[in-house]
Subunit: 260 residues, 2 copies
DNA sequence: ATCATATGTTCAATATATTGGACATTAACG
DNA sequence: CGTTAATGTCCAATATATTGAACATATGAT
C-alpha cells in the first residue's frame, strides 16, 4: 500500500530499495521487529528480508535489540545522520532559535522539514502553556495539512507540486477533501508573503504560524508556532516578528561549509 | 585498502555493501564529492558508483549539494539517525550530563562510543579552560589510543578483543607500538575498577578520565574528561566522582523503551 | 589546433542477487 | 497427541544488477 514509489507488477525488487524500505518501516514503527514480522508487514519475501537484514546487521545499519532476534536501526545510522547534521550545522543554532522562540512567546515552537513528500517535525520545543501538541517528532504528515507545507513546496511549479504530493494527502483527517487549487493559491500567497498562518485544519483549537528558513533560494525548512487560537490571533504580529527574526538568524548559517 | 571487511579477489561487489561504503566514505571526507571522485577514491567502477549514487539520491539517502553534481549524505539519513537516537533516548540526558560535567569541572567532557571497531566522540562539551582538544566529533580513532577504549571492549574475551581491533591500531601516532598484552591488562583493570584514567598516549599534555555508561551489562558508551595533566592529577578524585555520578544517571535511561 | 584529463552516459555480457518453496524447529492449543 | 502458526534456514532457478569498455562532452594546457 504505502510502498515507496513505483511498485506495481510482480518483478523482483532491488536489494537497495528493499533495504531502505525496511529501514523506513522500522523508523515508522519505532520499535524493534523480527525479520519475519518485517517481511510479513511490508509484503516482501521472507528469504529476501532475512538476507538483507543480515547484510544490514553486518554493516551496523541494523542492530539486534529487544531480544528474540528483533532488530532496529543501528548506530551507524546515527553516525551518518550526525554527519549530515554537522555538515549543515543546523541543530545547534536551531535549538537555540527554538529556545528563544519558546521563551519569547511561551508557545510551542517547531522546526520542520520535508521528508520525501511528507512534512515532518524535526525539532520541537514545548511551550510554557498547559497545551498539548498532537504532532510527534519524526512522524510523517501530509503536506497540505500544515501551514509549513505551503512554504516548503513554494519553489515548485503548480505541476511539480501536484505531482509531488500524493493525491490522497489532500484528504483531511476528518475525511473532507481540500481543493488542490485552493491549496496552490495558498502556496503562492505564502511564497510571496514569506510566511503563512491559519487556523489549523487538522484540529479545531490551534492557530499555526510558519516562516521559511531559506537555503539556496528556497525554503529548506520552516520555523513554526502552534498556539491556542485566541492567543495566536491576539499576538499575531508579535509572534510573526519573533518567527521572522529567528528564521533570519538560521537562514544565514546553513550555507557555509564547516572544516574541522 | 581500508575496505570494510572481506575484499580480496576480483569478484563483483554487492550493491548494498558498495552503497554503504560510499556513505561511509562521504562521512569520512566530510564534504560533498562528485560521483567520479568517489569512484576513483574508493576504487570502484565508475558505472557502478553512478548507478548507486542515483539510487541513493532517489531514496533521499544522498543529496545534491555544493553544485557541479556533487553529492553528500542526505536528509533521510538524518531522520533515520534521529530515530535511532530517539529509541534509546540518549541525547537529551546525555547533553544534560555533559553540561553538568563541564560546569562542575570546567574541563572538556565527551560522550564516546564504538563505531565499528573504532572509537568515536559522539558528543562533546568544551570546557571553560583555554585548552584545545584534538579529537573531532565523529572522527574514528583506534581503540587502543584512548582511555575509553579500555572500557568499551571490556565485555569481550582477550581473543575477541584481539580479533576485533585491527593489529595496526596498536601503533601509536608517534610510531611506537603498544604491547597488546599490556593493553589487555589495562582492559581487565578498567573493567574491574569501573573506570580508567591515564596520561594520554596520543599527546604529551593531557590526562584522560573515562567511566562506562552501562547498558545490558556492558559499557555501551563512556563519559570522559580531557584535562591538562596537572589539573587532572590534582582533581583526580573529585573528577572521578563527578563522572561516576553522571554515568550513573545515564546508565538507567537507555534500557526503557519509549512509547509515544 | 592538438592533446590530455575529468566528467558523465550508454550498453551488452555474465556473475550473482532475489526469490519461491521445501524443510526444520519451536510454541501454542485443543 | 496431532495440528496449526510462527520463526528461521537452505537451495536451486532465473531475472537482473554490476561491470568494463566504448562513447560523448567539456575544460585546460601546450
Amino acid at each position: 500500500m504505502d510502498a515507496i514509489a513505483d511498485d506495481a507488477g510482480g518483478k523482483r525488487a532491488r536489494g537497495l530499495d528493499r533495504a531502505f524500505e525496511i529501514l523506513d518501516f522500522l523508523r515508522q514503527k519505532r520499535q524493534a521487529l523480527k525479520p519475519n514480522e518485517i517481511a510479513a508487514q511490508i509484503g516482501a519475501p521472507r528469504s529476501s528480508v532475512y538476507e538483507l537484514v543480515n547484510l544490514l546487521l553486518r554493516n551496523g545499519i541494523l542492530e539486534f535489540t529487544g531480544g528474540d532476534g528483533r532488530v532496529y536501526l543501528g548506530r551507524k545510522l546515527y553516525f551518518l545522520g550526525a554527519a549530515y547534521e554537522n555538515h549543515f550545522d543546523f541543530t545547534r543554532e536551531c535549538e537555540a532559535a527554538l529556545e528563544r522562540l519558546a521563551g519569547e512567546t511561551r508557545e510551542t515552537a517547531q522546526f520542520c522539514m520535508l521528508d520525501g513528500n511528507k512534512y515532518t517535525v524535526v525539532h520541537m520545543r514545548e511551550g510554557a502553556r498547559p497545551f498539548r501538541i498532537s504532532t510527534d517528532i519524526g512522524q510523517s504528515v501530509p503536506i497540505p495539512w500544515t501551514a509549513s507545507g505551503r512554504l516548503l513546496v513554494a519553489h515548485m511549479t503548480d505541476e511539480e507540486i501536484l505531482a509531488f504530493i500524493p493525491p490522497q494527502d489532500f484528504q483531511l483527517p476528518g475525511g473532507e477533501w481540500l481543493d488542490p487549487q485552493a491549496f496552490l493559491t495558498e502556496v503562492r500567497q505564502a511564497g510571496h508573503e514569506g510566511f503563512f498562518t491559519f487556523n489549523s485544519i487538522v484540529d479545531s483549537f490551534t492557530h499555526c504560524f510558519a516562516v521559511p528558513v531559506m537555503d539556496e533560494g528556497h525554503a529548506a525548512a520552516t520555523l513554526c508556532l502552534v498556539t491556542p487560537r485566541d492567543d495566536g490571533l491576539a499576538n499575531r504580529d508579535r509572534y510573526l516578528t519573533c518567527l521572522k527574526d529567528a528564521a533570519a538568524s538560521l537562514s544565514q548559517a546553513p550555507t557555509r561549509p564547516r572544516r574541522g
